[in-house]
């Protein structure tokens, strides 16, 4: 295992020599800049950081990071990252994906990576549209969305990515916004510090095919009434209203008066984080951002490596001797 050495790196060290080719005005630029600026905080040499992506606009991301990186195939990044992370404890492995990549074609790998609690950090750029294929609805597009493939409106109800992740037993679930660099980096910091899978949804504007999708929670004139900032240990409020747990109800509610819930992301019962995730519907009416859930559970990597480590610790002899013993197992006979 490589030692963690104190290296003084800057955002510039994480810029690759490749020309960035997203559309001008794309939210991905802001996320890239925020990630590059955050990377030195990991305290890891660049060679110990790997970005793995699938297919889609966001998945070009690894090419622009001066770390190790793989731009793989549609939906499969969590699976590839699982094999890499489980076999290389010395690496910090990040998955960059989008709403189509992670929630449509790669939905199976996403939920299984989360339930296993693989030690990977998943950044899901959610723009609620297919950008690279030029504007079809995605699994997070609102019902009735009119796109190239749904001229009469989409008939699909969308996923709530955070509800899905929580249902898949995720141990770390957070949401942030492309344009709020400070908040985005605070979430990255918390995700990086988490042992196990961290799932981060990033609202990302596609100014070509779905411009303004998150304007309600970004525009300074409206956001205070719609955006809920979750802070550990702080009461949860929005625009003078309180987020409360009405007696006899299963969920949370935004209302005048009452006692606001005090946020605690470490609550073991996922029902709490799930209730938070349900505060925002397709219309983004009241949308929490921040860390919803942050609990500890042994990671897949840790368990798997321990099994191998323990088995190796009991082994004696050189590898060739061990192999000879293995081959000679069971009922053998010798001919002279």
């Amino acid at each position: 295992m490589a030692e963690t050495v104190a290296v003084k790196l800057t955002a510039k060290d994480f810029k690759s020599d490749q020309e960035v080719r997203w559309c001008p005005g794309c939210g991905d630029y802001a996320i890239l800049a925020a990630v590059q600026q955050f990377m030195p905080e990991l305290g890891l040499p660049r060679e110990n950081i790997v970005f793995v992506s699938g297919i889609g606009c966001s998945s070009r991301f690894p090419y622009y990071m001066n770390t190790y990186g793989m731009h793989s195939i549609h939906g499969r990044a969590p699976a590839i990252a699982t094999g890499l992370s489980a076999s290389r404890p010395d690496l910090s492995v990040w998955v960059v994906t989008g709403d189509g990549d992670a929630l449509s074609i790669g939905g199976n790998h996403l939920i299984h990576a989360l339930r296993r609690n693989v030690n990977i950090k998943i950044l899901l750029f959610n723009n609620r549209i297919y950008g690279l294929t030029k504007g079809q609805y995605s699994p997070t597009s609102e019902l009735g969305k009119i796109t190239k493939s749904t001229p009469a409106g989409s008939a699909d109800s969308p996923f709530n990515p955070l509800s899905l992740a929580l249902g898949a037993e995720a141990t770390f679930v957070a949401r942030t916004i492309d344009s709020d660099r400070k908040h985005l980096q605070s979430v990255l910091r918390a995700a990086a510090a988490h042992e196990g899978s961290a799932f981060v949804e990033i609202y990302q504007n596609c100014n070509i095919f779905n411009d303004g999708a998150f304007e309600l929670v970004k525009d300074p004139s409206t956001r205070d009434e719609h955006l809920i900032r979750l802070e550990q240990g702080e009461p949860i409020t929005v625009g003078g209203l309180n987020v409360v747990h009405p007696e006899g109800s299963f969920g949370l509610k935004v209302q005048e008066g009452g006692t606001p819930i005090v946020h605690d992301a470490t609550v073991e019962d996922p029902a709490y984080a799930f209730a938070l995730s349900r505060l925002s519907g397709s219309d983004l009416g009241t949308t929490p951002i921040g860390v919803f859930r942050n609990v500890q559970r042994p990671s897949y990597d840790e368990i798997v490596r321990k099994q191998v480590h323990d088995a190796k610790a009991q082994a004696t002899g050189t590898p060739d001797q061990m192999l000879d013993d293995l081959l000679n197992t069971g009922d053998t006979w010798t001919i002279i």
Partner: protein
């Protein structure tokens, strides 16, 4: 009571088939008989045959499970075309196997199961034991269940446990008939039922009762001996193809010094490789039971990217799902071993039956021009060496390799002359650690002039940070490129580097050196083809045999070999997939011979087909 003296006859070979209900323990019985036979030093070849259903309704034809073992005092190549002895534990087992028995064969039946109800289940109006329909056979009726329960009466075991021990009675009887050493079976029973001393006692008593029944009653007048075969000196064990393949992968990890990462999704008939490898963590083996076939290969590829020996094991339906990731591995030029234990298809097909119909998929079943290396083992023990060879090619040439096993070799078994670890190929690899240009840059697609492999620069290596992906890459730099000339160059380079893989020349066996007909096979048909060729030669006919282990690239001398014969016959368990490759590549009008019954070729089938070609052209 003194046992009556029994006549002892010498035989040179015997084929026995144990057949019963899925729950009768026939696979176990066959395994044990095989192990005893191995101890004695006979050459052996086995063929299990079981339904995909875990427990089909008891006593029905679909529920019949059988195990065939062929043993001899000389080296044999197949599990035998037809049984000399059938052990039928119930009417269904008799009915399902009778048509394959030659006249004069011995049939040992458990008469206790020949009740009116059981007979009716399989459509027997009258008992075949009584209506004269078995007149051509030597029938030995034995009340196996009653005799077993009688032998256990004083042990106080539950009736159900007692009845279940009847397979050990049958094994004891057969072990007596063929003079097998039984110590290993008694030891096995002690291990298997270590937590249930009552079952150890019951099964041992049943075995002993079966043995004594043969020795003391007059029902069996003759006892047989088959002398040990003359085999090369060394230590042997009996091994199935799946076990050998798993051990070969462990050996590849040891000899390469790399951790082994297996990503697998359970699928018949490949799951046993996952089971076996999961036991060998002390060799640095990590096994991951993934959520699906795609994740299984994805994780293996991710591990390979990180510097492990990445492996995924599956059957045909799984390879279909893995296709896109295999293409990614081809574009990334990373080592990866994909094991396809073929079964009868298409779709779910017949999961426990054999076929060689995935060759086209292995060679061509991907989008774009996506060449890779393909190899196939020829016998159960050869799976060990084929796995090592697959790893050698993958690691040396940084390419995915498809290893085409099949159900016949995967579940069949034979004696294996154990190699010594130190004699196995050295598979150590060199990771890139330094920039590879004079001006201190690292070019991830700069190739080794010898192997055409690109550097394996794993994450964690300082100074070599780079990005790879499925998008077309510029030669040398690996940067994204849409340049037409570059794409043309890269497509041709990927093809050329597979063609340039060094593989051994194909050998031809042509003892008389005057054969006009060559039989060309690949993979698991080696045994039946070899046995058929031997039989023809013993009758004075000339025929040459060549067998392909490497399907891509093909051996360099194959064209010259084919040109040396008037006729080339290609038997395959598919509709002519290798034949089509040979025709298009060498313009040789081969004679295809195809069987897709889910069963392996019998030597007899091939012998008569080849006789016709040799005599009549």
């Amino acid at each position: 009571m003194a046992a009556p003296a029994k006549r002892v006859e010498q035989l040179d070979r015997v084929v026995i088939r144990f057949a019963g209900d899925s729950g009768d323990g026939m696979q176990l019985t066959g395994d044990r008989f095989t192990s005893e036979t191995a101890q004695l030093g006979n050459d052996i070849s086995t063929l299990p045959n079981f339904p995909a259903e875990i427990r089909a309704p008891a006593g029905t034809l679909p529920g019949v499970s059988s195990f065939q073992v062929h043993f001899a005092d000389y080296d044999i190549l197949t599990p035998g075309d037809a049984p000399d002895v059938l052990v039928a534990m119930n009417p269904a087992a008799l009915k399902a196997n009778l048509s394959e028995l030659p006249a004069g064969a011995d049939i040992i039946v458990n008469t206790d199961e020949f009740t009116r109800r059981n007979l009716a289940k399989v459509g027997y109006a009258a008992s075949p034991l009584e209506d004269g329909s078995l007149a051509d056979f030597a029938v030995h009726p034995v009340a196996l269940t009653t005799l077993t329960l009688g032998a256990l009466s004083e042990l106080g075991v539950a009736k159900k446990d007692g009845e279940r021990a009847k397979n050990m009675f049958a094994l004891g009887l057969l072990s007596w008939m063929y003079s097998r050493p039984f110590e290993s079976t008694l030891r096995f029973l002690e291990r298997k039922f270590a937590k249930r001393p009552d079952l150890v006692a019951a099964n041992k008593a049943a075995f002993q009762a079966g043995w004594n029944y043969g020795e003391t009653t007059e029902a069996f007048a003759v006892r047989y001996e088959i002398k040990p075969a003359r085999m090369s000196p060394g230590t042997y064990r009996n091994i199935t193809g799946n076990q050998a393949l798993a051990l070969g992968l462990v050996a590849a990890a040891v000899r390469s010094g790399l951790p082994l990462f297996l990503g697998a999704y359970p699928i018949t008939p490949a799951s046993d490789i996952l089971h076996e490898l999961s036991k060998h963590k002390r060799f640095g083996v990590t096994t991951m039971q993934a959520e699906d076939e795609i994740a299984a290969i994805g994780a293996a590829l991710g591990a390979a990217y990180g510097g492990a020996l990445g492996v995924t094991t599956t059957s045909g339906p799984g390879v279909a799902l893995k296709g896109e990731t295999i293409s990614l591995a081809i574009a990334l030029e990373l080592p990866l071993v994909i094991v396809d234990v073929q079964r009868a298809g298409p779709s779910t097909g017949m999961p426990t039956k054999t076929e060689q119909a995935d060759l086209n998929m292995a060679l061509f079943g991907r989008h774009g021009e996506a060449p890779l290396a393909v190899i196939a083992p020829k016998s159960p023990s050869d799976c060990f060496h084929a796995a090592l060879e697959a790893a050698r090619i993958a690691l040396t040439y940084r390419t995915p390799v498809i290893l085409l096993s099949d159900n016949y070799v995967a579940n069949g078994s034979e004696p294996w002359l154990l190699p010594s670890a130190a004699e196995l190929p050295d598979l150590r690899v060199t990771f890139a650690t330094e920039p590879n240009t004079d001006d201190g840059r690292f070019l991830p697609y700069l190739r080794d002039p010898q192997t055409m492999a690109r550097p394996w620069a794993v994450p964690g290596t300082p100074g070599l940070e780079h990005r790879i992906g499925g998008l077309e890459k510029a030669d040398k730099t690996g940067d994204i490129s849409y340049d037409p000339a570059n794409h043309e160059f890269m497509v041709r380079t990927r093809q050329a580097r597979i063609e340039a893989i060094s593989v051994p020349e194909v050998d031809v066996e042509d003892p008389s050196e005057d054969a006009g007909v060559l039989v060309l096979g690949w993979g698991s048909t080696y045994g039946p083809i070899g046995a058929a060729c031997r039989a023809l030669r013993q009758r004075g006919l000339s025929v040459a045999q060549a067998h392909l282990r490497h399907l891509a690239p093909l051996p360099a001398n194959l064209g010259a070999v084919l040109a040396g014969y008037d006729k080339v016959v290609v038997p395959e368990m598919n509709l002519g997939q290798l034949a089509a490759v040979i025709r298009s590549r060498y313009l040789v009008d081969v004679v295809p011979f195809n069987q897709v019954s889910g069963l392996p070729f019998t030597a007899g089938t091939l012998e008569s087909m080849l006789e016709d070609v040799v005599k009549n052209g």
